[in-house]
Subunit: 240 residues, 2 copies
DNA sequence: GCAAAAGTGTTGGCCTTACACCCATGG
DNA sequence: CCATGGGTGTAAGGCCAACACTTTTGC
């Protein structure tokens, strides 16, 4: 029988996604910040930002706090991903991790670099890290792969893509978010119709100026409509 | 800053669903077993089966163990639901609960009644309990409502309905599972076509005998095909 | 005028819904 | 031969993928 007060450590970690241009192809891809471990186990390796749960803070609050401390980020969208608790996932003591995932805008992540301790925070291409086991500490590669799956599934039936964008955006920018997350091109015409049909965005009336073509209309997200499905056509190569 | 070794207690609880005929209407509805609390806080109230996490057991193993100890059930399908950890969810000490949910067959739950300690286990109609706040200890009403949502969503895109049924079943029995979970009637003809089209079941070749009408074909679940969507038509009153 | 992206129109095909209809068995 | 559910057929309508086409701007 287990003891009433166990020696299990409870930690909260967060998978942070941002969309950035890939330095090689220039296409938008998913990146995430990782923190270099400064103690054993896995000292020197990269790991998800996080830390032990505070005794008087809720789980999501703990995720926000540790994220702010390590990376300076204050995300809008934050959702619990999964609780990982296998006995052998940490070599020393028993650690159960409640993992959250979050989306941040590309323009938010810059602040992380000017912080003290920023030398132990670095951004990585999410799919590159997720497909190379052993690069991350603990079971964090598994966790990252799981978070990527969840993001790619959820973006098709929930308007979370807005969290990658500022308050006002064009439909082309929104489409670029979907294309970057799903790694496939989408038909602009059909994308427009589906997004407008589900009512998750509304036109602001303004237009983006300064382009060298027809000025696109600006939209904002419509909080009233929050549930709608987007159908994604068959997989294709994304042209670079 | 939180201490490295916190005084937070980690518990694992499980929401168990079974389909049973409603005593009033006779229609299949969702039921779940609850355990009477025998100590403070909430002594005497009903709560989800569960208990503290063992130091050398995985989370799912803990769910299976506590479920077996309290109810004698050994479920086939077991999935993590969510981790609940608000500071004030338990009046005394801080408790973080990793909650699982599971489906059991109607013929499995009988064994629970012959066990020692069975007088502290009772089955309740899930929707009745979920819609009456204050009947359960802690935040277990919230947890149950969340589990119900998840079950009703997941049954439309995953073949979990099989977990309610024995190895061989007719399509009418499978349809009755969907109707019981979703609380609406489904067109038998269209249901048959959708289920067969997604390939999650395969005919055994046998037929159910002893009915007072045409003998229906028997099917078994096809483990190869595990992902398929079922479209549910508009909401309707279910006739009793 | 030309390039480029915004935005609209249209067609064919697939899937679902609703419901009619036939099949097989017990009584 | 009737009642009952099993099982098949089918037509109308909706939705989507594909792609042609028009619009509006900068240069």
């Amino acid at each position: 029988m287990p003891s009433d007060r166990s020696a299990v450590t409870l930690a909260v970690s967060t998978v942070v996604f941002a969309l950035r241009p890939d330095p090689a192809t220039g296409a938008l891809t998913l990146w995430l910040p990782l923190v270099r471990r400064i103690r054993e186990p896995y000292e020197g390796m990269w790991a998800l930002p996080g830390g032990p749960l505070g005794e008087d803070e809720d789980l999501a609050a703990s995720a926000r706090r540790t994220l702010d401390v390590t990376t300076g980020l204050q995300p809008h969208y934050l959702e619990q991903l999964y609780c990982f608790g296998d006995v052998d996932r940490s070599p020393s003591q028993r650690v159960v991790s409640v993992v959250y995932w979050t989306l941040v805008r590309a323009d938010e992540d810059a602040s992380a670099l000017e912080r003290p301790g920023a030398e132990n925070v670095e951004w990585f291409a999410a799919d590159d890290v997720a497909t190379h086991p052993g690069r991350l500490a603990f079971d964090h590669t598994t966790i990252l792969a799981y978070a990527l799956d969840r993001l790619r599934a959820k973006i098709t039936y929930s308007p979370i893509a807005h969290a990658f964008l500022p308050a006002e955006f064009t439909l082309a920018e929104l489409r670029a978010v979907y294309e970057g997350v799903l790694r496939r091109p989408l038909d602009p015409a059909n994308f427009r119709r589906q997004i407008l049909a589900q009512g998750t965005v509304e036109p602001t009336g303004g237009h983006r100026e300064g382009t060298r073509h027809r000025p696109p209309a600006l939209y904002r997200s419509n909080p009233a409509r929050s549930r709608a499905t987007l159908t994604i056509p068959a997989d294709q190569e994304i042209p670079s």
